[in-house]
């Protein structure tokens, strides 16, 4: 699927209930998968109209608020929301709920405290980023053994999944007995990761492993490793196709697949349940899998 067809479905008015899928930055491959999954799933179901959209970039909070408002305006029956900010989107979610729209939260969990304050209860369908990062990190720990020196590359400071992944990596460092030398952000970007890690390596020539918060950055990191012909292993997150060769070659010990496509599908299913009057609450964890040399296929 070259273009995001989901939206075109919404064009003609039908009797079917409309489910609004609101994501952040569709420019991000992960959300692209997520949307594709949703489109396919809806096609399978056949009794739903999907209206999916995403923001320009991941930090565009009020852009996403506008998206939610659009869904309210269009009087969708349900909104499946992958929030750009776990707290900033709570109000909009509550507003939608008040407007009688079923809201399902996917990908990043809305902040509980904030939800309470807004007096809204929104079910969450999604993976545990922290646990995922930890699992991926543990693979690295296993590969390197205790006491190995590692660094972390973080995502956008302030982005929730960035924070959770960082925490997960920290857990892995603690539990795996790794020695953390430094932790810096490269804003999810390949080029910046190349620069930041390059300098980290200059500053700490004895780095043995890198915990990277997404694959895009991992690509930049691996470039540095290749350039320096260093023996450094990488643990990452997202499992985009581009990293496959590196998993096979072994530079990348592990990455994490949180099945974005599945998530959206599940989200839609729960939305349908709610539309049909079922009560859904709490956190429905979606599966995550650590991808390594062995299961990369």
């Amino acid at each position: 699927g070259q273009e995001s067809t989901g939206t075109t479905v919404a064009a003609e008015p039908t009797g079917k209930p409309t489910v609004c899928l609101v994501m952040k930055s569709l420019a991000n491959e992960y959300f692209q998968q997520m949307q594709q999954g949703a489109v396919d799933h809806v096609a399978k179901l056949g009794n739903v109209t999907l209206d999916s959209s995403g923001t320009q970039n991941e930090t565009d909070v009020d852009g996403q608020v506008a998206l939610v408002e659009k869904c309210i305006t269009k009087q969708a029956q349900a909104i499946v929301l992958a929030p750009a900010d776990s707290k900033a989107l709570v109000q909009s979610a509550a507003k939608a709920a008040k407007a009688g729209i079923k809201v399902v939260n996917i990908d990043v969990k809305l902040d509980d405290a904030a939800l309470q304050q807004a007096g809204a209860d929104v079910p969450f369908v999604g993976p545990d980023n922290r646990d995922g990062a930890k699992q991926s990190g543990m693979e690295l720990a296993k590969a390197l053994g205790k006491g190995a020196k590692v660094v972390i590359l973080e995502g956008n400071p302030g982005a929730d999944n960035a924070l959770q992944r960082k925490n997960g990596f920290d857990d892995a460092v603690a539990e795996g007995g790794l020695e953390l030398l430094d932790s810096k952000t490269a804003h999810w970007e390949t080029d910046e990761a190349h620069t930041v890690f390059g300098n980290m390596l200059t500053a700490h020539p004895d780095i043995k492993g890198v915990l990277v918060s997404n694959d895009a950055m991992a690509l930049g990191v691996i470039k540095v490793i290749e350039e320096r012909k260093a023996d450094i292993k990488v643990a990452s997150f997202d499992n985009i196709p581009a990293v496959k060769p590196y998993l096979q070659s072994g530079v990348m010990v592990s990455t994490l697949d949180q099945f974005g496509s599945k998530q959206a599908a599940d989200g839609i299913d729960y939305a349908m349940k709610m539309i049909n009057g079922e009560q859904v609450t709490g956190w429905q964890k979606t599966p995550i899998t650590v991808i390594t040399k062995d299961n990369v296929g």
């Binding site: 067809t5 009020d62 408002e69 659009k70 900010d85 405290a113 904030a114 304050q117």
Partner: protein
């Protein structure tokens, strides 16, 4: 050329047409866009959606109004986007968990920070005659870093009820926050077109040397404009928190471009001396309507991005045509 033949028409009608066109500004393009969406974007005309549009353009309107002052004196401010984050997190922290009582202080704080940053931008630019582009670019980094440092990248929420409820309140169907924006625009318009200061702002942007020769302290005028711009950012920060109930250090990325775009689409010249608050207002509307309409039409995100860019270009080109035609006619009549 056709325009000539037009010009050959009856002088009186020419004059009328030219006047209308001359005043209309980017409004022409805006109306065209509106009509188009009314026809093709479901729900576009609904009261609810009009309100949404108003809320959605509020921030950019406020920022753009401030930016107008800066651009009129030939400056530019790239720090807007980070500065709003800084103002928000600091003021937000001041209000966090607090009651209505904490609001006035926070507002004052936000305004002060904004104005102070504006002062630095303006003062450095003026005192050492360095391009404001680069000074405010520096400020962009400083403010962003400061905001993150201040909160440790944490998002601030649980702001006073009365603030957030103001963010969703409506006066006679008009969102309160938008009313604030309109009010600010009105004041700005009055200051720029009626007061001595306002005229000196235009004059300075037009030919600073001449204004200095006439015994005015252009440096002061310019610095004040930067401070006004900064103060507007302070207001925007409060409005942001009122609307979204949170303040995060990463908010506002890229706002500067939208604000500048609104001003320039509104007919201002980046070399200073030309532009108007009305134009800016229309520019902000155009951008807001465009985003909103395309969303309602359900255009895919990527195509939406493309169309947005294309429409921006077409709009200014149309406007250029308009200007020429109107001058042609006025010459002819």
């Amino acid at each position: 050329m056709s325009s000539i033949s037009v010009a050959r028409g009856n002088p009186r009608t020419n004059r009328v047409v030219s006047q209308v066109l001359g005043e209309a500004g980017i409004g022409v393009a805006l109306v065209a866009l509106g009509v188009f969406f009314l026809a093709f974007a479901p729900h576009f005309g609904t009261a609810q959606n009009i309100r949404d549009i108003m809320t959605q353009i509020t921030l950019n309107t406020i920022l753009a109004v401030g930016m107008t002052f800066i651009i009129l004196v030939g400056g530019i401010d790239l720090s807007v986007g980070s500065l709003i984050a800084l103002c928000a997190v600091v003021a937000g922290t001041a209000m966090e968990g607090g009651g209505a009582g904490s609001i006035p202080g926070a507002i004052l704080l936000s305004l002060l920070i904004g104005a102070a940053a504006g002062f630095i931008n303006g003062f450095v630019t003026e005192r050492w005659r360095v391009p404001s582009f680069i000074v405010t670019l520096g400020m962009l980094y400083v403010a962003r870093g400061a905001a993150q440092q201040y909160t440790g990248a944490a998002t601030i929420y649980s702001l006073p009820e009365s603030l957030t409820s103001f963010g969703t309140a409506t006066l006679a169907g008009v969102p309160a926050v938008f009313a604030v924006a309109l009010l600010m625009a009105a004041v700005a318009w009055f200051v720029l077109s009626r007061t001595v200061f306002g005229r000196l702002v235009y004059a300075t942007g037009n030919n600073e040397e001449a204004v200095r020769l006439s015994g005015h302290r252009t440096g002061v005028i310019k610095v004040i404009c930067f401070m006004i711009g900064g103060a507007c950012v302070g207001v925007a920060a409060i409005v942001y928190m009122a609307r979204l109930g949170v303040a995060s250090p990463i908010l506002g990325q890229g706002y500067e471009l939208n604000a500048i775009a609104a001003v320039v689409i509104g007919g201002a010249s980046l070399s200073g001396g030309r532009g108007s608050v009305i134009g800016t207002l229309l520019g902000a509307c155009l951008l807001g309507v465009l985003t909103n309409g395309l969303l309602l039409m359900g255009v895919s995100d990527f195509q939406r991005t493309i169309v947005t860019g294309a429409v921006i270009i077409v709009a200014v080109v149309l406007d250029a045509y308009r200007k020429r035609l109107s001058t042609r006619l006025s010459v002819a009549s």
